[in-house]
Symmetry: C2
Subunit: 400 residues, 2 copies
């Protein structure tokens, strides 16, 4: 006698435990769906599997079907289902509390029986009979022979769609148990993923709100001083370009968040001018010594205004020291060479370039060619040589 080769029995409990653990750590619903569908196809040996997933944001359901053996695809127009779908309605606990299915799963064979019962008991035109009939058609359209719903507090979160088994057999009790438990884990994982997505979005939204508020804050100085219109934005652009070039040249490795901090410093470098009288800011002639003193206070006044925002600590270096000079003859502290934070040295060059190439109350704008020559000439005295080098390279390539 040839010994029968027994099929290896699958330990569904173990599979479930492993799956559940993987699922819960995946916070992207799409990846989650792909994972679940793949697992069903490979572990239960069905020809294909799919999933209908609730999209809370749009209040619709997304359909995803694995390629499986047959390379089955979602019928055109069925990538999304809404609450009018019969399959969704059949499983809606709010709508049809009375409908109950074996093992919490809707198997095609059972469905045929239920339709027959309904037609016998209540006549063909009965609402439930018709609903079941339409649901059956939808199942067939997806080539599903069983559907397993997943709920979270009576909200239908997902439906597993199961195609025929490879061996053509019916699903046995163990398998349906597995699907039911899996569906429940799926619901949990989806809920978890949705909470994560929501929180993450909230964090990002709030961060974005902060950045936009900073931009508005920066714009206030432009509402006051018409000569700075567009100045902060241009300085920020120049500064970021210079820093990128320096990084590309390998002349410096920047710490974490350097670019974001530089961006904020660029936007806010002149915010202290809010505290400088308009009569000085807009004076067409030469400033007196006293006026120069007040004008120069804008670096420290900027720091003062921004002090409540401890998160800007790094950026404040750019605000405070963007008028220092490489030779130590700048203000407010007369720092020299590498004592000057590189962020401030970058803004200093960017600031000068834009100031020279824009109209000012006391003079007309200069040609950019001339401005770059001037900055080059002052490399190592007013400006940091490495910064100037990056600036010149950008200019020569026409990128500034």
């Amino acid at each position: 006698m040839i010994p029968m080769k027994l099929p290896t029995k699958i330990d569904y409990k173990k599979e479930l435990e492993a799956a559940s653990k993987t699922m819960i750590m995946i916070h992207d619903p799409k990846t989650l769906m792909r994972l679940i569908v793949r697992m069903i196809v490979s572990k239960v040996k069905v020809k294909h599997a799919g999933m209908i997933l609730y999209d809370a944001q749009r209040d619709t359901y997304i359909v995803r079907i694995s390629r499986g053996e047959r390379g089955l695809k979602i019928p055109a127009g069925y990538a999304r289902l809404d609450h009018k779908s019969s399959l969704i309605r059949v499983f809606s606990r709010k709508e049809y509390k009375s409908l109950s299915f074996r093992q919490n799963a809707l198997v095609l064979d059972d469905l045929n029986k239920m339709i027959w019962q309904e037609s016998v008991l209540n006549g063909v035109n009965n609402g439930i009979g018709e609903l079941l009939h339409l649901a059956k058609e939808e199942m067939q359209m997806f080539s599903a022979i069983a559907c397993v719903p997943a709920y979270c507090q009576d909200t239908l979160l997902a439906i597993l769609l199961l195609g025929e088994k490879m061996d053509g057999e019916h699903f046995d009790q163990d398998e349906l148990d597995f699907f039911s438990a899996l569906a429940s884990d799926v619901a949990m994982a989806i809920k978890n993923a949705q909470l994560f997505t929501d929180l993450k979005k909230e964090a990002e939204r709030n961060r974005d709100l902060f950045l936009r508020t900073t931009t508005v804050l920066a714009s206030t100085i432009e509402a006051k001083d018409r000569y700075t219109r567009g100045h902060t934005e241009r300085v920020t652009d120049y500064a970021l370009a210079i820093a990128r070039q320096m990084a590309a040249n390998g002349s410096l490795t920047f710490p974490n968040n350097f670019f974001e901090n530089l961006y904020l410093a660029g936007l806010l470098h002149d915010i202290g001018k809010i505290a400088v009288p308009e009569s000085i800011l807009g004076k067409p002639g030469k400033l007196t010594e006293e006026e120069i003193k007040i004008m120069r206070e804008h670096t420290l006044r900027g720091v003062e205004i921004l002090k409540p925002l401890a998160e800007l600590e790094e950026s404040l270096k750019g605000v405070k020291y963007h008028h220092e000079r490489y030779d130590g003859k700048g203000y407010p502290d007369g720092l020299k060479g590498d004592e000057i934070p590189i962020m401030a040295a970058i803004i200093a060059a960017a600031d000068t370039l834009d100031a020279m190439t824009s109209d000012r109350p006391y003079r007309k704008s200069m040609d950019k060619n001339y401005a770059i020559e001037e900055i080059k000439r002052n490399s190592g005295t007013q400006f940091h040589p490495v910064v100037v080098q990056a600036l010149v390279e950008l200019f020569e390539r026409g990128e500034i």
Copy 2:
């Protein structure tokens, strides 16, 4: 013969599944610990159970022990353990890769055997022998007869501490299996909870950062116009007090977020003055008609400045209309009565109260008593009567 009463067998798999699902939805580590410890005590019938939980933020371990039957407590000084604790070290995969325990659990009986083996094989003064000895002492201090570690990627996230069983028996295989699986679920739940906590904190931090940036934004107008020093803050306080009083009186039900929006509107109501020349803002004498026109533009300029922040839409009503009058003679749109958003009507009264009781370039401050009388006299013409009523009530109770 008296029939033996068989103890009801516990379905650990089922318990585990239920526990895992509850755990994963709890995102507060402390609640999670309480839940797990309680479950162990009630399901496995141990005299007490406890848990040592990794606190990633402080890089230490927190100890929590259930009251259980004996009302056991954590020994003084052991509410937190650090990496020097022998129990922590024994389970550190990074430190002692070679140590392996039956069922991934450290049972007191096994520990005695291991200590004996170490002393026979390597002598008493061997490092591992001593470590095991100290770990045993720590277990005894917590009255634990078994410890089950929980890892996430080789990081020790938790140790379950298990006291004696009620029936005095040893833990059987089923129970140790259960603990091991439970520990693994615990690790997952803890990891999940930590991720949640981190994300939530980030969202809150970013929100807070936005609010503080708004405060800085509001303060810029005070850096420019010395007469408004403290004005925005006081107006905001008055406005919030009036709204609270109105809510208490039941005169209005406010929509969601009304108070936060009012707070922001209060802070930002005069931001448009950034765009008004200092010569007009600080003029000691009477303003010319042209100057009045420019001054009045501050409401619309405020809206313009804040436009990039769509989130402030509701607050902008307060910014734009805080100079409207109940009788329709205000600006910028001459709105009348209930056409004026209630937020703006509240700020209008708060603004006037503070303006009258503060020094201005063109006059000294007035007595608050007199100011309130003036506002009362203009109720129904300049001011919304319901707002005035709330303001008067606050004043009479000495709360404003």
